[in-house]
Assembly symmetry: C6
Homo-oligomer: 76 residues x 6
């Protein structure tokens, strides 16, 4: 993401698309909790909790749906 | 959003689209809990709770899906 | 919604579309718990709980997706 | 739903479409818990719990998306 | 599902489509917890818990969306 | 998935598509919690918890929606 923020949802592969989906999932958390220190404190909580990890994966799945559609599922 | 409320879902970039998605996610909370004081009291609760932050991100992801589709994924 | 119930998903603006989405989210709750008294007892519970408010916003987001699609995203 | 089960997703109005969505949401619960007695025991639990009611509304919202799409959003 | 696994999402009626959606929802659970004994131990837990039943219904709703789209909503 | 990561969402059957959806669901968990040891510690927790298993199935359902759409629902 350039310093002008998110300019495109296009990626060359599903792998890059998945990485963008992970970024999109994190973006809302950074906007909702701007303090990097607090986010760092929370990391050991959610990254060692099975249900939190599953919930993170669900948000990524929604964004991956969006990114995949934006890239015509990389079918070209 | 003008004082006539939400008039369009069109934005010029995905970055602006994401900001609109965050607004759309907050809008239902403001309609459901109109008291700004109560919302302010809740802020330290959800903004320091990993699962609440992930749940917020999920709502933004759903609205971002809608806004992205409305803007043809900014592919023009 | 006329007394014949929900006759259309068309609205003239996204703002009206969002209000319809809120109605659609409430409709299932009224059908599942027809007692207005009980619903009134529950209001202070969910409207002062951050996770409940986020969950309400998620249901509105799903209905807003549906209403937006029904109105071609108000792009006409 | 006729005794041959669900034969169509078509309804004449969004109101009927919403009622079908409620039926579709209940159908999985009846298939997962066939005992009507147990389901009746559970009713006072979820119908007086704000988060359960919101979760029910979310399932109805997903099915309403499906039924609305099946009926071209009753735009004809 | 033949022994070659899932070969098609096509069904002749929405009723069959709903049954396929239930199978698709169960499939991930069987893949994640291959032990039938453990799954049997869990059955009385989720099948008598309102929130678990609602969560099951939500997964079925997502798969029913997919199966309905695959069958053009049985509109032919 | 080749060592270049995810290159395509195309699969020849829904069965393979479902397996890809399971991989996509796991991928976010591996990215969020890179330690295989920690993930192994969590396995007995979520794989014997009904609600965790249902939540896993929900993430797979979202990815299966994406993969099915990418493959035109294997209708060709």
């Amino acid at each position: 993401m350039s310093n002008g923020g998110l300019q495109t949802l296009r990626t060359s592969t599903p792998e890059e698309g998945y990485a963008l989906a992970v970024n999109l999932a994190q973006k809302a958390i950074e906007l909702t909790q701007p303090s990097e220190d607090i986010r760092k404190l929370l990391r050991p909580v959610y990254s060692t909790d099975a249900n939190s990890l599953i919930a993170v994966s669900q948000v990524v799945a929604l964004h991956f749906q969006t990114v995949a559609f934006a890239n015509n599922y990389w079918n070209n």
